[in-house]
């Protein structure tokens, strides 16, 4: 299990391949890999967005993400996982977050990946400040709900 805070750009697909290559002893064991990649949009709340800065609480970010991953492990038979989150200055079309989960079966991989991502959105201490073109940026007030209310 790995949790990584990234200062600067990263390629999620290379990271997944690279991490999977390190998983000794898992060859033939995982039948499912579920992946979520979050990418920066060039619009938000009706406005074009030129870029943004992601602030975080160093130490607490890692601690909360590790707790969330441990919770997922307790609920589903996860073989391994990789969580990466970028901080600092970001441009549209660049990846912000990666959650990848390896499990024997797809249901567990899907569910654990979704759980980690939704918990990250509501508990991991990161904050986005958008650049709209004016001098002062705009802090994003809150995340949208991931699950549709039923």
């Amino acid at each position: 299990m790995a949790v990584v805070i990234v200062q600067g750009g990263f390629d999620p697909w290379q990271e997944i391949q690279g991490y999977q290559n390190t998983l000794d002893g898992m060859s033939g064991k995982f039948g499912a890999t579920s992946v979520f990649v979050g990418t920066m949009r060039d619009f938000n709340a009706g406005d074009p967005v030129k870029g943004m800065t992601l602030e975080h609480y160093p130490g607490m970010s890692e601690k909360q993400l590790e707790t969330i991953v441990a919770e997922a492990q307790q609920q589903w038979p996860v073989l391994d996982s990789l969580v990466m989150h970028r901080v600092g200055d970001i441009l549209p079309n660049e990846p912000i977050v990666l959650v990848a989960v390896w499990a024997s079966h797809r249901g567990d991989a899907f569910d654990a990946c979704r759980y980690i991502m939704e918990a990250l959105k509501s508990r991991a201490p990161f904050w986005k400040k958008e650049r709209l073109g004016s001098e002062d940026g705009r802090w994003v007030g809150e995340n949208t709900k991931g699950y549709k209310s039923v």
């Binding site: 979050g38 992601l54 602030e55 975080h56 609480y57 130490g59 607490m60 601690k63 909360q64 989150h85 912000i96 977050v97 991502m117 990250l120 959105k121 509501s122 508990r123 991991a124 201490p125 990161f126 904050w127 986005k128 400040k129 802090w139 994003v140 007030g141 809150e142 995340n143």
Partner: protein, 77 residues
Amino acid sequence: MSIKVRYFASLKESLGCSEDDLVFAGLVSVRDVWRYANPQQPLPDNILAAVNMEYVSLDCSIDDGDEVAFFPPVTGG
């Protein structure tokens, strides 16, 4: 007892302060820390608090050496 207080994101900007070191004589809660550190500012309604990097309620009591953090709703991912 001595504690460190930290602020993040929009709260840090609006207060014009990222951290502070405070000394208290008696038992205090997270809410007391805010009142003492920001006597002119009411606690924002949607504020979140952490002690030693774990989420806590505003009524949580503080120990010597704790790091108390206040911040707005998180918006990562």
